[in-house]
């Protein structure tokens, strides 16, 4: 845009007769000549003349866009909350992960969540959730989507409906209700907390509960409270985005102890672990 001849502002602004005198080397602060009263308002305020050019009409969204000031542009995040290797007190090693990624504008977001465990016999138990979330109150989001279970036993598909948010006293919380094929139902509850020892050393307790509406012996699941997992991880935030940790995890599985598949999963397990939390 080239505007060689800008609108002159000579319109209504009163030009001071003393304006334009050439004294570039005036020692400011000392030069002060007596002035006769003129027609200036007592506060020197002169309203500006109207603009000579005006912008064409825009929607508020177009206006903020042209300022490059979209308050809520799309954004994404990929968080590996857990990426860890563990050794149970029985000497079994396993690798497990818990990751979530989102993309959206802050009110509406598309989520991908996955969690699982692999040991020497392969993937034991893993799930992937794909959810759409909508901010609903100041701290809570609705979530709606699907879940796929993979790993040992037949794969299962579920429809998911949940809430996720920040509970009073700073508990990160999610509760999801699932409906699957053949009348299966399930619920999952997860809460975690950050306890700061220093600005970088953070102890993070975490609790996860799974409840099922009916037995699924092929996947080692019993109806009712199926399993409880409690973890305690101490991380050191070298940066917000990179924090290795060590921790301990307790798992308790209920029911179907006699079942062959379930027997391979230990009813009680304690394991030590080391891992890393990273996000982008």
């Amino acid at each position: 845009m080239n505007m060689p001849d800008m609108p002159g502002m000579s319109t209504s602004a009163p030009m001071d007769p003393r304006a334009g005198h050439d004294d570039p080397h005036a020692d400011h602060g000392t030069a002060s000549q007596p002035v006769a009263e003129d027609t200036r308002p007592p506060n020197d305020h002169v309203p500006p003349p109207p603009p000579q050019a005006t912008m064409h009409a825009m929607t508020p969204a177009e206006m903020t866009e042209s300022m490059e000031m979209n308050p809520s542009p799309p954004l994404g995040m990929l968080l590996f909350d857990r990426l860890e290797r563990s050794r149970s007190t029985n000497g079994d090693y396993a690798t497990s992960w818990e990751a979530e990624g989102w993309w959206g504008n802050g009110i509406d977001r598309l989520w991908l969540k996955t969690e699982g465990e692999r040991d020497s016999e392969g993937t034991q138990d893993a799930r992937v959730d794909v959810l759409w979330s909508h901010a609903w109150t100041r701290f809570w989001d609705w979530q709606l989507g699907v879940r796929q279970d993979v790993g040992q036993g037949p794969n299962r598909q579920w429809a998911a409906l949940g809430v996720q948010g920040l509970a009073p006293y700073w508990f990160e919380t999610q509760a999801t209700f699932y409906v699957g094929e053949q009348g299966r139902t399930a619920a999952r509850f997860e809460a975690s907390y950050d306890l700061r020892f220093t600005q970088r050393l953070i102890l993070s307790p975490k609790l996860e509960l799974n409840v099922y509406g009916k037995d699924d012996p092929q996947r080692g699941i019993s109806s009712g409270l199926s399993d409880v997992e409690a973890g305690l991880r101490m991380r050191y935030e070298f940066s917000r985005k990179f924090a290795p940790y060590i921790g301990i995890n307790w798992t308790r599985r209920f029911g179907t102890q006699d079942d062959a598949t379930a027997a391979s999963l230990r009813a009680r397990e304690t394991s030590w672990l080391a891992g890393v939390r990273i996000w982008f």
């Binding site: 800008m6 002159g8 400011h28 309203p47 912008m55 308050p71 701290f139 009073p168 917000r240 990179f242």
Partner: protein
């Protein structure tokens, strides 16, 4: 991993926060200076006259030991000081040598709407390779500044001072006159900072409450009180350490483009009166300014003369300017110390009779905590419940002269509903202007407050035709900011009739102080009783506070009205149409 994170590990923290002794713009250009001090005291770049040629371009800089690219004007950061004369007409040709659209806004200057420099409102912006000629008559005098209003260019260096000489000469004769432009530099791209805040709003808060703090309070006050002290904050999911969104974790604070180690120096002769024109050109930082051992006489606020008031310290919000006069009588150096409101870092300069002299740099004050007054505003004792600790009660109730008037002055607007855009609301906002704000209430120093600002002249109009209340809203956890719970991109303009006199009442429903800036027209600050205090272009509203000002809608056109914290502005923004 992020740039500033790895940098924090590689560089000694002190060096990173204070910057390098050498460096900045000159080093970036490869013009290595023998000594930073050799250049100090010189107003390096001053343009005066009626015609100005400005060129916006990228500039390599090095403030922290890492080479970065800044956005600069005429190869300078800050941009050159523009010296104008009241009553004259200035023409400023601005060329844009960036690869993106740019724009310069003349902050606090009353001018025609198409000269205001806000893309989308005033004009289409200055395209890459293009130019725009600004031309307007300067009818006011005092200290102002200019900055980019396109994207986040202000954060990357596009800001500079403006001094307008009064046509009748200065009210206060001084021997030295310096502009002191405070700003915040980061090696991280501003888009990354904004994204980090939106992913984790506490990303740059390295002062969060720890187990150690809790145990310390238990030891001092007992378990029940230590718990009670935290109960309300934690139940509300609010953080009493939430003093600044971005901190010295990524910022190096600059004074006239110099890091603290660079130590900008202003010279004086014994017996000189020195006028210091402070401008807060930072993107996200409030500064608390003092010169240990020297009284400062504040003579102007936002360019407008006020009745002189003598203080030890003042807080300056983004976009505000304060002129102070000091008389450093002794033959010694003095430190100008500007600590960030969250006490994570500081900018620093020296006043000295000779180059190379320095004075002690005071330690940062302890990091303060927000008080209950910052969350709840005016409180009855009964409201507060047994959860209130003595500490907090003290902070609120012992505030010097916090008058009970706020009850009568309560906002007429009903409290908003909370929701994704509004995480708290203040039922009984306080309207006391004599509160210096968090961290300054008990400093033991005489701190400037808005109650101290008394214009030397009259308001533009004593009449009030209409009253408009706006709530300053936000959701800290989601990092969203808005007026009345509505984002700028979803709100229609605020319409004022040409010639109308409007009282704008701002109620802050957040726990952060917001510097609210109206373009094109003055914001004539009022006392809680509705009396004219001072003419300003940027009005800071403290947490849970109600502040009102009058606007004479005598400037036709489309104007911006927004929070001057750069990362709040996108949401906390309204178009104002005067027609």
């Amino acid at each position: 991993m992020d740039m500033q994170d790895s940098r924090g590990v590689q560089l000694p923290r002190r060096r990173f926060v204070q910057g390098l002794a050498l460096g900045g713009v000159a080093a970036g250009l490869g013009l290595w200076r023998g000594s930073a001090l050799a250049q100090a005291g010189v107003q390096r770049s001053e343009l005066r006259g009626n015609h100005f040629e400005l060129e916006i371009a990228e500039l390599p800089v090095n403030f922290t030991g890492h080479r970065r690219v800044a956005t600069a004007v005429n190869g300078q950061l800050p941009a050159p000081l523009l010296r104008w004369r009241q009553g004259e007409t200035v023409t400023i040709r601005v060329r844009n040598r960036l690869a993106v659209t740019s724009a310069i806004h003349w902050h606090g200057i009353v001018l025609p709407a198409d000269m205001d420099g806000v893309p989308g409102l005033s004009f289409g912006g200055i395209p890459p390779g293009g130019e725009y000629v600004y031309r307007f008559t300067v009818n006011q005098s005092g200290t102002y500044w200019y900055h980019s209003h396109a994207g986040f260019q202000e954060q990357t260096g596009l800001y500079g001072p403006i001094v307008i000489e009064p046509r009748d000469g200065e009210r206060h004769a001084v021997q030295r006159d310096y502009t002191i432009l405070l700003s915040d530099w980061t090696d991280t791209g501003p888009e990354t900072i904004y994204a980090n805040l939106r992913r984790q709003s506490g990303y740059y808060n390295h002062g969060k409450p720890t187990v150690g703090d809790f145990l310390h309070d238990v030891g001092r006050n007992g378990m029940s009180q230590a718990l009670a002290q935290r109960q309300m904050w934690n139940r509300m999911r609010m953080d009493p350490t939430d003093l600044a969104d971005v901190s010295a974790a990524t910022y190096t604070y600059l004074l006239n483009g110099q890091t603290p180690a660079g130590n900008w120096t202003g010279l004086f002769d014994a017996g000189d009166k020195v006028r210091l024109r402070f401008i807060n050109g930072a993107s996200m930082t409030f500064f608390d300014v003092r010169i240990p051992g020297l009284k400062m006489t504040v003579v102007a606020a936002d360019g407008q003369a006020i009745e002189p008031v003598s203080v030890d310290e003042f807080r300056i919000g983004n976009g505000e300017t304060y002129d102070v006069i000091v008389e450093p009588a002794a033959d010694r150096a003095w430190t100008i110390f500007a600590q960030s409101m969250d006490r994570s870092g500081f900018a620093r300069a020296t006043l000295a009779p000779r180059d190379g002299m320095t004075a002690a740099v005071p330690p940062l004050d302890p990091r303060p905590l927000l008080s209950m007054a910052d969350m709840m505003g005016a409180m009855n004792n009964g409201d507060m419940g047994h959860g209130m600790s003595h500490d907090m009660t003290g902070m609120t109730m012992d505030m010097p002269g916090m008058p009970p008037m706020s009850m009568a002055q309560e906002s007429h607007a009903p409290a908003l509903k909370t929701g994704p855009e509004v995480d708290m609301r203040v039922a009984t906002p306080r309207s006391n202007l004599n509160d210096p704000g968090v961290g300054l209430r008990d400093s033991g120093r005489r701190v400037l407050t808005y109650a101290d600002l008394h214009a030397v002249d009259t308001p533009i109009s004593p009449r009030v035709d209409r009253e408009i209340t706006l709530r300053l809203t936000g959701n800290m956890e989601r990092y969203r900011w808005s007026f009345d719970g509505t984002l700028a991109s979803e709100a229609g303009p605020l319409r004022l009739r040409y010639g109308e006199q409007v009282r704008i009442v701002l109620v802050n429903d957040t726990m952060m102080a917001h510097p609210i800036h109206l373009h094109g027209m003055w914001s004539e600050l009022e006392s809680p009783e509705g009396e004219f205090q001072a003419r300003k272009h940027t009005v800071v509203v403290q947490p849970a506070q109600r502040v009102s000002f009058r606007v004479s809608a005598d400037a036709q056109g489309r104007w911006a009205f927004h929070c001057h914290l750069l990362f709040h502005m996108a949401g906390m923004f309204r178009e104002v149409v005067v027609a």
